[in-house]
């Protein structure tokens, strides 16, 4: 990838570079043909009455080193990108270097995971080495959103409880990690009705989990809940197949209380868990899923060293 889009620049750079190398050689050649008078080999400069600068010959090998550096430069420019847009005979790019290093890294850790591919999630969660690996993968890849302790925060689900939006089996967790998930709550105000209807249904939703609510409003809003039941189920128990949260527990991912529920009904919400299949290998995802599963299903409680 060249930074220079105009045609002239690469040519200009190449000419300047090659001319510079050639000038070095010419200078060396001229200097090697020059002679100095042997009798008094000082430069003629005198400081502090008796300090004189000598003009002694340089060792020949030093000049040889100069020539070698010029040759090295020339060879480098042939093999590697340096002359404008010339890609170099080795076709080296920083991107290919990165990719080969990543591939080498993956090949290096592969044997680590070989043992785990045949193990079940329960075994993995109990295995100290898998647990340590999972912990590290989690800290490096998941903790940014879900928190170092995996308890999440507003908008980012808690992974240590038993409330799962998309199912909590190891396979489902692995699928969430690999494919990502998209939580989609459409704006439902139109389906529910007027602003009062929305407030009433919100109070009904709060009543499902025994949260503080206005019981009269909840009674009125109960009939309007049919619009919500399509996804959240008639009792508001949620539906993991759709990623619809359970409304009858006290876990509120996007905020708790009447205001938050009203805003959710009015505005809806799109929440995204990014896919990691390209970033993590299948074995890594398996180990990570088992670790996450173990957080709420009693994984290893003692961690030994990962070798």
């Amino acid at each position: 990838m060249s930074d220079f889009v105009a045609v002239g620049w690469p040519l200009f750079i190449a000419i300047v570079t090659i001319a510079g190398l050639a000038a070095c050689l010419v200078l060396l050649f001229i200097a090697s043909r020059r002679k100095v008078m042997a009798g008094d080999n000082t430069t003629g400069h005198v400081w502090d009455e008796d300090l004189r600068e000598l003009n002694n010959p340089l060792p020949l090998w030093w000049m040889g080193l100069f020539v070698l550096t010029v040759l090295f430069g020339a060879l480098y420019l042939v093999l590697y990108p340096g002359l404008g847009t010339h890609p170099g005979q080795l076709r080296w790019t920083s991107q290919s270097e990165y990719e080969s290093e990543m591939a080498r890294g993956r090949a290096q850790v592969e044997p680590l995971y070989a043992r785990f591919t045949t193990m079940s999630a329960a075994e993995l969660a109990r295995d100290p080495q898998a647990h340590a690996l999972g912990e590290r993968l989690f800290i490096n890849n998941c903790a940014q959103c879900h928190g170092s302790d995996a308890r999440g925060s507003k908008g980012f689900p808690n992974l240590t409880d038993t409330d799962w939006l998309h199912g909590g089996s190891p396979e489902q967790i692995a699928q969430s990690i690999a494919q990502g998930r998209q939580g989609m709550m459409p704006p439902m105000a139109a389906a529910v009705g007027s602003a009062d209807d929305v407030r009433n249904v919100a109070n009904y939703v709060l009543s499902l989990s025994g949260s503080p609510h206005d019981s009269i409003a909840a009674q009125i809003g109960r009939t309007k809940f049919t619009a919500c039941a399509a996804c959240h189920g008639p009792g508001g128990k949620g539906n993991p197949a759709l990623g619809a949260p359970n409304l009858s527990d006290r876990i509120w991912l996007h905020g708790w209380g009447e205001e938050a529920v009203v805003r959710m009904i009015n505005e809806g919400k799109t929440n995204l868990m990014p896919a990691h299949a390209g970033r993590l290998s299948d074995a890594q995802i398996q180990v990570l899923a088992a670790y996450v599963w173990g957080l709420s299903n009693g994984g290893a409680t003692t961690t030994a060293a990962a070798k």
Partner: protein, 494 residues
């Protein structure tokens, strides 16, 4: 007897023939130094043995089931006997460099280029290579003859034998050098596999290991076999700046011109007492001091920048003085002031002059600080990092929770268990999910949740408040408990 306080060193023209034109690039004449024996040569050999026993021996020394000295760049761990250093301990390298620098300043101020003459690897390997050369090709005269001789079977045999031995020493040196970074026994196995002496299934050395063995081996062969004095004259920066530490009380290799001149040959029968009457000095002009000089200078012209202070000329001249039954010390370690004052002995009062005392005191202070700091080094390191995703959250019963990651590093060589305690906020409690147990030299991120009861949070009010973490290493049978304290902040939401 009065002497001039200083003498002008004559400029040696590049050619005796005035009017001759000389190229700006000159091929260097090979210097064939004559071998030398004596007091200072013995010291040099003692230092050759000492430094090289350490250099070649250390990688092979086992210690706690690992090499005693190993610089594991891949794992970023430096093992030096019982000491394990981490990247965080990089300051010790700075300390080591400062110690080396002040050590160099100190003994350069006292006795000139001592390091160059006796202990510098360039000198030491040159000495070893010259010993090989001396034993295969003979001494100076024989080597000069061999250089001039036409190529024949005998010359070829001697030359190739010499280079074979040199290359072997060079390769072994390169192998040893890499053995400081890769456990040398493994490296040895890899090399054996490479030349087909190991069992099947053993891998050869990695490309970088092979490169460094060859590179370092080639550098040893080239520098000690061919470059020799050129390194000191044209490449070495220390050689240049050591002259800045010289003063008129620095011991330098000096020719006592007042005693030696006028030089010249004389019959052996002439007694020392009768010399003055004959108008002769003590120097018999045998030029042995020039022949033994590894940098090819004539010390009788005074101190020159090429002189590395190896004292070979002192040893050989003392031998000649003994043969002539003259007193020793025509060429000797002496100071400019001492020579001017005509002293034959060292004036110790001048050795302990302010410059030397200051260097000595600084060196002592830094050494004490360095050792103390190493002894008191904490067996663990801790970093507290607040989670960025969530500043604070409300959990059961209105408690406020903040999440932190502790990077704990076990700087010991045994497994350790740790506890985390927080202080600074009333009722604050740290919760760690699992028991924190770290393998030797392992470092790990440990998530820690800190909960503060609602009444403390209300008393503090919203905002960030100081919090102190104490990470306690549990005592075991071997060692007492240790702890590290780290500051952080606790956020109470609005």
């Amino acid at each position: 007897m009065s002497r001039p306080a200083s003498r002008v060193i004559p400029i040696a023209p590049v050619s005796d023939d005035t009017g001759e034109m000389v190229s700006l690039y000159a091929k260097q004449a090979t210097i064939h130094a004559r071998s030398v024996h004596g007091w200072f040569a013995a010291w040099r050999w003692a230092l050759v043995w000492l430094t090289q026993l350490v250099f070649y021996g250390l990688p092979w020394l086992p210690w706690n089931g690992r090499p005693a000295v190993l610089f594991d760049l891949g794992a970023r761990r430096f093992y030096i006997f019982d000491l394990v250093l981490y990247p965080q301990d990089f300051i010790y390298l700075t300390g080591l460099l400062i110690l080396s620098a002040y050590g160099l300043f100190l003994f350069t101020a006292v006795a000139g280029r001592l390091w160059c003459g006796y202990a510098c690897p360039q000198t030491v390997y040159t000495e070893i290579f010259m010993w090989v050369e001396h034993h295969i090709e003979g001494d100076r005269q024989a080597r000069l003859k061999l250089d001039a001789a036409p190529w024949g079977a005998a010359k070829l045999a001697r030359r190739s034998a010499k280079h074979a031995v040199w290359l072997a020493i060079g390769l072994w040196t390169g192998f040893t050098f890499v053995g400081y970074f890769t456990p040398i026994r493994e490296l040895g196995g890899e090399v054996l596999a490479l030349i087909g002496l190991a069992g099947p299934g053993s891998a050869g050395p990695g490309p970088w290991e092979a490169f460094w063995v060859l590179f370092y081996g080639f550098a040893t062969y080239g520098n000690a076999g061919f470059m020799r004095e050129q390194v000191c004259k044209y490449m070495c920066p220390y050689a240049r700046f050591q002259s800045a530490m010289f003063d008129h009380d620095t011991l330098i290799i000096s020719y006592d011109g007042g005693r030696g001149e006028p030089r010249g040959s004389r019959p052996r029968s002439l007694a020392h007492d009768a010399l003055a009457a004959q108008g002769k000095g003590d120097c018999i002009d045998c030029t042995l001091c020039v022949q033994v000089c590894p940098t090819g200078i004539d010390i009788r012209e005074g101190l020159q920048y090429e002189c590395i202070g190896c004292a070979a000329c002192i040893d050989v001249c003392n031998g000649v003085m003994d043969k002539m039954a003259y007193p020793r010390g025509l060429i000797r370690y002496a100071t400019q002031n001492g020579l001017t004052a005509g002293q034959s002995r060292l004036d110790w009062r001048r050795v302990f002059r302010p410059r030397v005392l200051v260097y000595g005191v600084i060196l002592l202070l830094i050494s004490v600080g360095f050792v103390t700091s190493l002894v008191l080094r904490s067996p663990m390191r801790v970093d507290v990092v607040r989670d960025r995703g969530t500043l604070a959250r409300l959990v059961d019963e209105g408690r406020i929770e903040n999440v932190y990651r502790l990077q704990i590093m076990n700087a010991t060589e045994s497994e350790q268990r740790y506890r985390v305690v927080v202080s600074g906020i009333a009722g604050a409690q740290a919760q760690v999910r699992d028991e924190v147990r770290l393998a030797p030299a392992e470092s790990r991120w440990v998530p820690v949740a800190v909960q503060v009861p609602p009444q403390s949070a209300a008393a503090l009010g919203p905002g960030a408040h100081p919090l102190r973490f104490e990470i306690i290493r549990e005592a075991d049978g071997m060692q007492p408990a240790a702890s590290v304290s780290e500051k952080s902040t606790f956020v109470v939401p609005r």
